[in-house]
Amino acid sequence: MSWNTLMAMLAEETCNTLFMTIPSTLIAYLLGLPLGVLLVITRKDGIMPLPTLNRVLGIVVNLLRSVPFIILMVMLFPVTRAIMGRGTGTASVIVPLTISAFPYVARMVESSLLEVDSGVVEAAQSMGSSTLQIVRKVLIPEAMPSLVNGFAICITTILAYTAMAGTAGGDGLGKVAITYGLNKRQYDVMYAASIVLVLLVQLFQVGGTTLSHVIDHRRRK
């Protein structure tokens, strides 16, 4: 394979990978963020204690998280087909990726929000804040550096999962690496695709860590 063909292919497949990763992450946050908030505020010692709901949500999240992605993808074929028109393909993989990621996102969000000093939440309560005001103006802003860190972890994890999309007819760098490395024995292409994956992961991770650091005002700067 010529250098130019390789580069063109890697560029295209990077786009495919991102096309699966970014929407999946965003939709997973759309679902996972509110769920994570609910997991925190409905705790027994939370600002809206609903222990039964909390337990049910916790069980659902754990169940979803315990199904391996590849199995979940197969189980979700009918759902994916109903939503996307077809069960397989690059775009269709977004459905199982999202479904498998959002409980994970919820747990990440939960752990970030639990880091917020309970004294600050108590102060907000003592000032007559509603539950929603505490969530929007205290919990989330105070947890923002940690949430950003969590976002970087989530997006890189989802990026890694897109490698398995090949098994459901999706494209992307993962599929290239598997096809060329496993089937065609062209290891140079496999390594090239893997390097791009590593670079993407680094980019998101370093970007996330840096941003988290910059927006954090807890240290004297």
């Binding site: 600050v120 102060a123 003592s126 000032m127 103006k137």
Partner: protein, 343 residues
Amino acid sequence: MDSIQDTNRPCQIELQNVRKVYPVTGGEVVALDNISLKIHKGDIFGIIGLSGAGKSTLIRCVNRLDTPTEGKILFCGKNVPEMNKQQLNLMRRKMSMIFQQFNLLMQQTVAKNIAYPMEIAGVPKERIRKRVAELLEIVGLSDKAKAYPSQLSGGQKQRVAIARALASDPEVLLCDEATSALDPMTTQSILRLLQQINRELGITIVVITHEMAVIRQICTHVAILDGGVIAEEGSVDEVFTHTKSAAGKRLFGIVTPENREELAEAPALRIVFDGEQLSEPIIAELILHLGQPVSILSADVHTLNGAQYGQMLITRPENRDVCDKAFAYLKGRGLTVEEVRQA
């Protein structure tokens, strides 16, 4: 137990037979038992007690960060434990609180922190901006509007917390160990600020502390909490000069037959001046009378219309007989004298 001047000022907060029980593994903890109190408008009401006495529990029940197991807490004629969520949030805007650990929003600027209570109450942006500037002025932090809490000292953080507490124009300010994380100098300045707020804005202040000095310095009234019950209550002058309860004596370091063991060393004498007219210099006279020197450890006495108020700590003479002689002499002058532990 109210003194006479209390009755003609309106009552701000009234607690009636408040009890708080915490369930714990293997039983329960009675944190408060049968607490009845009246806090009047304009008071600086101190609640003092040793660690675990129930001070935080009491103040947290007042703004319902905690709910009492039994009893009534009346504020503006309504019973706090029975308020619904909406009433509760409105009540809390009239009753602000400051904390030992300041509890500021660490990711927001000082100005944003102070704006918070107004933002949640839906005050227009322009008014918030003006009011934040005024409040910064009151607490003396006008130059720190854009700073973040992590860039401030403990005293400055507490000033921000006070400004934030004032932002909702409260009638009452609750302070839970507000100066306990601060050094003595900073404590003084925060206490002066609280006093100024009480005088100039007419805000009723409830002060929780384990330090007698805080009570002495700013409170008008005091309740001594001991093991979840009120051991003694009244005006600060009254409780301080005529301490009745064992808990009070223990807190003030007064030696009694019951606590002599605990306070094995009692090297000082406390002389209380309760409005006596003293024509001659009492300590100089005492030294002449005993024929040996005593030194003044601390003195906090002021003269009002020729009469003296306050207290003085002097070294206790080593010799028991000399000590008794000193007692007799001072008592003969109409002064209250007690053996105390040296602070």
